[in-house]
Symmetry: C3
Subunit: 363 residues, 3 copies
Amino acid sequence: MKSLISYIQKHPVHMLLFAIPVSILSELLHWQPIWIFGFSALAVVPLAALIGESTEALAAYTGPKIGGLLNATLGNAAELIITIMAIRQGLLELVKASITGSIIGNLLLVMGLSMLLGGLKNGIQKFDRQQAANHAVMLVVVIVALIIPSFFSHSIGAEGSWGVESLSLGVAAVMIALYIAGLIYTLKMTRSPIAVASVAVETEVSRHRKPSQAIAVLTLSTLGVVVMSEFLVGSVEEVVVSLGVSEFFLGVILIPLIGNIAEHLVSVTVAVRNNMDLSMEIAVSSSLQIALFVAPLLVFVSLLMGNPLTLIFNRFELLALGGGVVIAAMVAFDGESNWLEGATLLGVYLILGIGFFLLPTGG
Amino acid sequence: MKSLISYIQKHPVHMLLFAIPVSILSELLHWQPIWIFGFSALAVVPLAALIGESTEALAAYTGPKIGGLLNATLGNAAELIITIMAIRQGLLELVKASITGSIIGNLLLVMGLSMLLGGLKNGIQKFDRQQAANHAVMLVVVIVALIIPSFFSHSIGAEGSWGVESLSLGVAAVMIALYIAGLIYTLKMTRSPIAVASVAVETEVSRHRKPSQAIAVLTLSTLGVVVMSEFLVGSVEEVVVSLGVSEFFLGVILIPLIGNIAEHLVSVTVAVRNNMDLSMEIAVSSSLQIALFVAPLLVFVSLLMGNPLTLIFNRFELLALGGGVVIAAMVAFDGESNWLEGATLLGVYLILGIGFFLLPTGG
Amino acid sequence: MKSLISYIQKHPVHMLLFAIPVSILSELLHWQPIWIFGFSALAVVPLAALIGESTEALAAYTGPKIGGLLNATLGNAAELIITIMAIRQGLLELVKASITGSIIGNLLLVMGLSMLLGGLKNGIQKFDRQQAANHAVMLVVVIVALIIPSFFSHSIGAEGSWGVESLSLGVAAVMIALYIAGLIYTLKMTRSPIAVASVAVETEVSRHRKPSQAIAVLTLSTLGVVVMSEFLVGSVEEVVVSLGVSEFFLGVILIPLIGNIAEHLVSVTVAVRNNMDLSMEIAVSSSLQIALFVAPLLVFVSLLMGNPLTLIFNRFELLALGGGVVIAAMVAFDGESNWLEGATLLGVYLILGIGFFLLPTGG
């Protein structure tokens, strides 16, 4: 009992594992969709955290190079699973909104919270300007690449037409190629914009564990996310109708939070510990992985699943992506942060949230 | 007589005070609206200068902290009064145009002139890159926040609908909250992006004066601005028709000049004296105050007045705001300026001016 | 024979001079337009290279100041001639596309290739951050100025109307004035954003030659470009139809490559030799010259020719210009480059290329 209490004190997020059985129960007993949605969402949080922790533990055994690769591919596993489930249900708009939401969540919410709390604790925080600038450049370039197809699509054809599908596939192929280039770069260089040096994170926040144990936890928690995502996605449409919020709001604000909150906490924690370099790196790398790996992978996977997803974002998503990346780049080039800057980033996130909340349900 | 001449030599702008009686005369005698407009516009210039000088004088007595607060709230008093008068007349488009115009006037015209004249006099001018970068980051973030509602509004509803009004009020509330956060930051830190250390300005350009005298001048000149704004705004519509210029041109180019020209002169003067840090700070702080304080305050005040102003800008205003802020941020991150850079900023301002001038009167 | 071989080894591009007679033959014998187009395009490449080399040789005699001026005016001679020929044929959309294409070709393709190949050879490459930042600031400001009229034009009037024509002429006049200011700046300062210090390029890549010989080569190769451009432009429309590619693709991707490939090679070569400063300078200066000199000159020349060209770009061109300049500015402010950054720039160029390729022929 005592060890359970001490375990929970160390891993408060794991307490949410209780939501797994409740969620299964709610599905079996056909409760109101809002309950199924709520409990399965809660259950994803600790499962995503476990995936992250076991990836870190594995990375600690494999060394920084392979660890970086593991991190770069498994780092967004929960998010990837949820979105694949959503594609299967044909919820393509939700998926695109959640890609957007993941990126701005990292760049505005997480960076903002990190700078606000880190700044209140530590005053003005400096970070390696060159390192941050390198990452910011990659980020800006990748986001520009991501938003190009949306501008061209209307003149090329309707969504789903041959031309638009070719454009999306072409862009996805270029993105994946850049992602592979980034992985190669990771293997050669000590620091890469795509993969955070996992050892750095590990010594900061995670604990040692045997590799076999890590693999077991990884497998089980991945399976758990699959089941929970199934429930989550299955109840989304009814939740949208019953709550009266727009699908965009759910996709941009709520869904990304569920899959990433554990990672977000790490970023904020290290900022409070005055390791602003690592905090910025986590937020930027995570955004890069989504743009370069998750989004294009979904384009290909969705094609195989017969529900082709295109990379055509609507103008609200474009504004959020464009605004978010410009702000993040400025902040990174700046070389230092303070709580006022953090508060301002949160203010922009809040304003975007108000906008998405007020959008009509129909879209 | 001699002392009057020496007074005018020191304060050439005060010579324009003669326009006050002429303006009142022109209103009473029902001259052509263009004359009423012209003389009341001329009269605002020295009155705004007097407000600025007496604020500085008060700030010199209260010390830098409170002085910063005074500056941050009274710095745009003339502008605030003119726009409130315009809201009372229902000239909402004019008000939004003048918010835009104040911001780009500071970022393009004033920075451009400062760099051009300062550079011609002093060659390449360096400034504190870190300080400038900090301010530029705040500026970019705030302007992104300011332009978000305009993108969302069309899908949320018509101007004046419940949704759009909620969006504007929400954004205004966030802005005001950030402004208050900025004021708190000012009280804790020596330098803040929102309030220029007023003592710095004071030693550069203004003169000591007793506080009671300063308060008297402040009150009288504020009253003067109220009366002159009344005349100015009352004649605007007829001037637009008779001159054939668009309301946008008047709002973006002329109105902001009238209210800010005294402050602009200070910025240019200190640049010529090779204090580029202070010059940049005045221009950026002034823009921040308008975005974070004047604009949201007008949203709330206009609601109380029954003529609700929204923060929905048209695409010309968005382009001007977006372009202006990107340019200003680049220039600030650069860390040095030269006359060619200044000339280029003025070129962009001129091109925007041509564009607004050529817009049809109807809008 | 041996000297011919050694000559070709030194100047491999000159081998393409063989295309001149073939191109003339193809025109006289009325071959398929695609052959005429192909051979005249090939022939322009070495001719543009010869113009560049003889300009450099002249510059070496005149000293850096005048040399800079020569470079700034003759550096884009081939491009200027092709576009004037295209205006004479009324191919205004092609001309605007090729202005866009020249700028993004320099900022994405050339910078990308330089960083990729330079980085693979030399690892992380550093360059003078201050110098690069100065140039980037000019570039951003100028591109913002260039895209302003496009936003205003729709509300001002139809393309070709009095208002839109005034707007274009006004902007062109401001641009030319800034260009002249830039030339004056060149004569006073050692380094200017508009003219690359030609001596630096000369010692790196070109060879000494007598001035009389240089003038002769310059004249002959200019004449050659005139004739080849005539053929090239004369066959464009039939090529567009027979290949089924859009006029935009030809204008944005192919035409700029033809006129600039020699200059592009210089930029990449010096990057591989680890002179990243010069490589960046060539790419940025060339973009600035096109925006400040070539584009406005074409506006005036086209008016005299009775086929008035406006500076109204479509939204694909605006996206390409805006995205390209933001990326280039970020990269320049960064202060260092690596092969992954280069690969990413090429990725963006490729994605833009896919977009322009997929646009329907009708436009």
